[in-house]
């Protein structure tokens, strides 16, 4: 557990990057190696924005960071209730980190509900900043506090800072021509200012952001900036905050390069635009709004000047249908959705398997079944991706491991789709989608060449010597069929979901042909060239391997580090390609006495590897809508090692 005090007190000496505000007082400054802050409030309190801004400041300061937004599915749940609490957790450090952190060192609770909903995660000794203005009898009663937790000893052992945030904000904005209600809305910026002071965050970016965001309402922009500054000044002057903290930039964590902070959905959107450019094909997105995937639709819709066409369809089926139509026409076609949407798209994915056209199906997984937990994370669509279609309908499956990795995963998924003329399922999830981390921005010339060759002419000679075009004559190496797009003279052909004769693509009900085509489609997917899985086994003689996939990479790696720091010997491997599996997976699994597979489902990858490789892989599962905590995983893995 990180302590707030990890190095001796130091005077603020201008070491802070960013030339704007610096604490100028004689107050103590302590140096920390990492901090976990959680902002919590009503879903209307602007906690996500507050978190985002703090994150941007932290990113530009040069810390490594990882974030975990957590919000209800309701847009505005009833005010002051537990279900309405929205929070944003940020972990930042002077070194390389992997997760948004297990337990906050600092909780900012904007009301009693926020305190109640989050206190269980906060260890004793942590700092709690509460907005005392909201701790009225009525508000406390609403969430079941019979007496005030600020006074009844419930928070003994915590370092509590009672701050009348609302009153202070309204007071700070009294010069502005705003109603009390309007002024109160800026209290999140007051809190942000206070925290920015506490952790020596640069402030210029937030002021610029507010000026831009409210460019059309200069009065509101000025009020928010004033509240932000008032929060900073409050920290600087009030005696309650005696100490501020420095977390040095994580200079060692980052190789040379240019960086930015990026969320998974943004990285994925950029990956798609990059893939379109690298393939020299126009990007076409057919999509229906669904949480947590909609941000990709929003983002791509902003970049029409890249030739990106976005089509908001009437339903999930039309979303993928339009994408498939565009693929037939020669676009790099994409559909984005979440688990329920994949269920609706299944038949069309099957058609794409049969048509053998490139298509990216992006599933930002969320809690299921059915509507499930729209805003929470889960990785329980793996078997749906693998098997959720009628007939033998194999589809390549990939999963990014971190928010920034979504960029590379999109390019890799496009490579497979274009090379092998197949739909590809890319499994991101809510945690990756909304979480963020620093990303080294690639140079354009580092990106893979994804150019494809459309069919241009006949590819087959008949017995009578005539040259013809066969739409299902395959490339012997990849087994991909030619991509002949409408508009190409002489290659007119018909394709469809009915079984096709090998080569000609004509309708065929011949039993032997069907058997051959089923096996050929499977062989094409099985033969996809995917890189071998890397194994991190420092000593080379660990008995236990922890195998993960997708967004569990951060927590698993953090847990492995903890175990190794405690002298344990454990190997780690993480799958990016789930269909086909890397060629070396079976060999790797058989090298270890024990294989543990942590998943945010009830054991879907474990089921697949047990079935395919006959290894006694043990599952460790959590399906509570939240990512694993490193400590919890470390404990479970320790038990596996000892067991």
């Amino acid at each position: 557990m990180t302590s707030q005090v990890s190095s001796p007190a130091e005077q603020a000496d201008g070491a802070v990057v960013g030339e704007q505000r610096k604490p100028a007082s004689e107050k103590d400054v302590r140096r920390l190696d990492r901090v976990i802050i959680r902002f919590a409030g009503d879903s209307g309190d602007g906690m996500q924005l507050t978190g985002d801004r703090f994150t941007s400041e932290t990113a530009s300061f040069g810390n490594d960071l990882s974030t975990l937004p957590n919000f209800p599915a309701e847009i505005r749940a009833p005010a002051g209730t537990l279900p309405g609490v929205s929070s944003f957790q940020l972990h930042f450090a002077d070194h390389d980190i992997l997760t948004p952190g297990d337990a906050p060192n600092v909780l900012v609770a904007m009301n009693p509900a926020a305190l109640k909903a989050n206190i269980a995660d906060v260890p004793r000794g942590a700092e709690i900043i509460v907005n005392t203005d909201e701790f009225t009898k009525r508000a406390m009663a609403k969430v079941g506090y019979a007496t005030s937790p600020l006074e009844d000893g419930a928070l003994d052992g915590y370092s509590v800072h009672p701050v009348p945030l609302t009153t202070l904000t309204v007071e700070a904005l009294k010069e502005f021509d705003l109603s009390r209600k309007e002024a109160e809305r800026s209290k999140n910026m007051f809190a942000l200012g206070l925290l920015s002071w506490m952790y020596h965050r640069p402030t210029e970016g937030t002021e610029k952001f507010l000026a831009t965001k409210f460019a059309r309402k200069p009065e509101i922009a000025a009020a928010n900036i004033a509240a932000f500054r008032a929060g900073w000044n409050f920290g600087e002057t009030t005696e309650d905050f005696a100490v501020s903290y420095e977390i040095a930039p994580a200079t060692q964590a980052f190789p040379t390069g240019t960086y930015r902070n990026i969320s998974g959905n943004l990285a994925l959107s950029y990956g798609l635009i990059a893939a379109s450019r690298q393939a020299d094909l126009p990007l076409y997105l057919g999509s229906y709004p669904i949480t947590p995937a909609s941000d990709i639709l929003h983002e791509l819709s902003r970049h029409k000047n890249f030739g990106v066409r976005t089509f908001q369809a009437e339903d999930e089926i039309a979303g993928i249908g339009a994408a498939l139509g565009a693929a037939f026409g020669g676009s790099l076609a994409v559909t984005t959705t979440s688990g329920p949407g994949v269920a609706l798209k299944s038949e069309t994915i099957g058609l794409a398997v049969s048509l053998e056209l490139p298509l990216l199906v992006i599933d930002i997984q969320r809690g299921g079944p059915s509507t499930g937990l729209p805003t929470k994370t889960e990785q329980a669509d793996l078997l749906q991706a693998m098997y959720g279609r009628n007939g033998e309908a194999p589809v390549p499956i990939m999963a990014p491991r971190t928010p920034a990795d979504c960029f590379d995963a999109a390019l890799e998924a496009a490579r497979i789709a274009l090379t092998y003329r197949t739909p590809v399922l890319l499994l991101s999830d809510g945690y990756l989608a909304n979480g963020s981390e620093p990303w080294r921005i690639p140079e354009i010339d580092e990106l893979p060449d994804l150019r494809v060759q459309f069919a241009q002419g006949p590819n087959h000679t008949l017995d009578d010597g005539s040259e013809v075009f066969w739409p299902y004559k395959r490339d012997p190496r990849t087994l991909a069929r030619p991509w002949a797009i409408p508009g190409t003279p002489g290659l007119e052909h018909r394709i469809g979901g009915i079984e096709k004769q090998d080569g000609t693509g004509n309708i065929s009900y011949d039993p032997a042909n069907h058997d051959f085509m089923v096996r050929t489609r499977q062989a094409k997917i099985d033969g996809i060239d995917v890189p071998d899985m890397e194994v991190d086994d420092l000593t080379g003689n660990a008995d236990t391997l922890v195998l993960g996939w997708g967004s569990t990479y951060g927590p698993i790696t953090a847990a492995v580090r903890r175990l190794r720091a405690a002298g344990e010997n454990i190997a780690q491997a993480h799958l990016r390609h789930l269909n086909p599996f890397p060629r070396n997976l079976g060999t790797v699994l058989k090298r270890y006495e024990k294989v543990v597979v942590p998943e945010m489902n009830l054991g879907q990858l474990a089921t697949l590897v047990r079935a395919k490789y006959l290894v006694d892989a043990q599952s460790y599962n959590q399906v509570n809508g939240m990512p694993f905590k490193a400590e919890q995983l470390a404990t479970a893995l320790k038990e596996a090692i000892d067991g």
């Binding site: 240019t258 970049h303 000047n305 030739g307 249908g321 409408p486 190409t488 018909r494």
Partner: protein, 364 residues
């Protein structure tokens, strides 16, 4: 090039972006090498022949023509056309065709569908394609029965239809596809009959010339499961009383011709209700007979015309183009937005996009 396309797709605005054939085409050019496998006597043969026969009139490069279909008897259509084609899945052809048409404006995209495909499983896609006004020509083969699944009632079957799935008679009221299309904001709606080659071809010509989505309902006989469903419209004697042939700018008259050469019955607007009704034409009321205006901005009269037909007897069934109006076309506007995005922001610069506004540099 132009002289070979005598019928003049050059002059059809809706087709200006589609490349033209380099040589004169014939019906044979549009026949694929696949054996046609509809039941002998099926109305689909007549429609196929009409379409193959009509295509050369458009003079389009056949590699720029695409037929997309769903599932059902009529949906086998693309296999028989020597153009690009996709036989997709049940009900989804309008969605797939929307993606194709909106990403490739140089194509002439046709959808072939049936009453079950378009109005039952695919009803949602149909209405949304119509309201968007994507550049698609939708041929809806209506035989008022499920043929490929061997004879269940369809969403256009008359109430009380006895079929395998409704031994005591069907209960649900049918859709009138033309009414539905007009209600779905369609910019072009027409109806024709499989056996009337001349009428069918003329309607197809007008549909092809239309910018945006054109819906053509084709009454088509299923001689196996619903034989004679449209006999009243085909039998010369009965048809005279049953069929109302609409022509833009002409008075709406039908039935046995009078001395003026026009029909003895006519359609008038009821001055009290505003609705339309059929009356015997007299010297007194000749001037009150409604003149058909397919281009009327309001869909009200077209809708009222579509309601004249009795769903059971098919008496007073209007055929021809009920509505044809100019409305912004989805794919044109989509392309325009791309152009104006480039105008406003310049052509996308990937490096600048990835870097964004808040990057920082780590030096080694």
């Amino acid at each position: 090039m132009a002289e070979t396309t005598t019928e003049g797709s050059d002059t059809i605005e809706a087709l200006t972006l589609v490349p033209k054939a380099e040589a004169k085409q014939s019906m044979k050019d549009f026949k694929s090498d696949q054996e046609v496998r509809w039941c002998p006597g099926c109305g689909d043969y007549a429609v196929l022949a009409a379409v193959q026969g009509f295509m050369p009139q458009l003079g389009l490069a056949k590699e720029n023509i695409v037929f997309v279909s769903g599932i059902g008897c009529s949906s086998r259509f693309p296999y028989y056309m020597n153009t690009y084609g996709m036989h997709s899945i049940h009900g989804r052809a309008p969605a797939i065709a929307t993606g194709l048409a909106s990403s490739r404006r140089d194509l002439s995209v046709w959808v072939v569908t049936g009453d079950g495909d378009a109005l039952s499983i695919g009803g949602n896609h149909l209405i949304h394609a119509l309201r968007r006004n994507v550049n698609l020509k939708i041929l809806l083969f209506n035989n008022r029965i499920y043929g490929l699944t061997k004879g269940q009632y369809s969403p256009t079957s008359e109430v009380g239809k006895i079929t395998k799935s409704t031994p005591m008679g069907s209960l649900d009221a049918p859709f009138n596809p033309v009414s539905l299309a007009i209600g779905a904001e369609a910019s072009f709606v027409a109806r024709t009959v499989d056996s009337d080659r001349k009428h069918l071809t003329e309607v197809l010509r007008q549909a092809a010339a239309h910018s945006g989505t054109a819906l053509v309902e084709i009454y088509q006989n299923c001689n196996i499961f619903n034989d004679g469903a449209f006999e009243v419209l085909k039998d010369r004697q009965q048809a005279e009383e049953a069929v109302i042939r609409l022509e833009h700018g002409q008075p709406i008259r039908f039935g046995t011709p009078l001395a003026d050469g026009l029909g003895s019955k006519g359609v008038v607007r009821d001055t009290v209700t505003g609705d339309l009704r059929v009356v015997a034409v007299t010297e007194e009321n000749t001037s009150q007979i409604l003149v058909h205006d397919a281009h009327a901005a309001s869909p009200t009269t077209a809708f009222a015309l579509s309601r004249l037909a009795d769903p059971d007897t098919l008496h007073h069934t209007p055929i021809g183009v009920l509505r044809s109006v100019d409305r912004p076309v989805y794919d044109t506007q989509m392309a325009d937005q791309l152009d104006s995005a480039i105008e406003q922001n310049g052509k996308g610069d990937l490096s600048a996009l990835l870097t964004g506004g808040d990057a920082w540099t780590v030096v080694g």
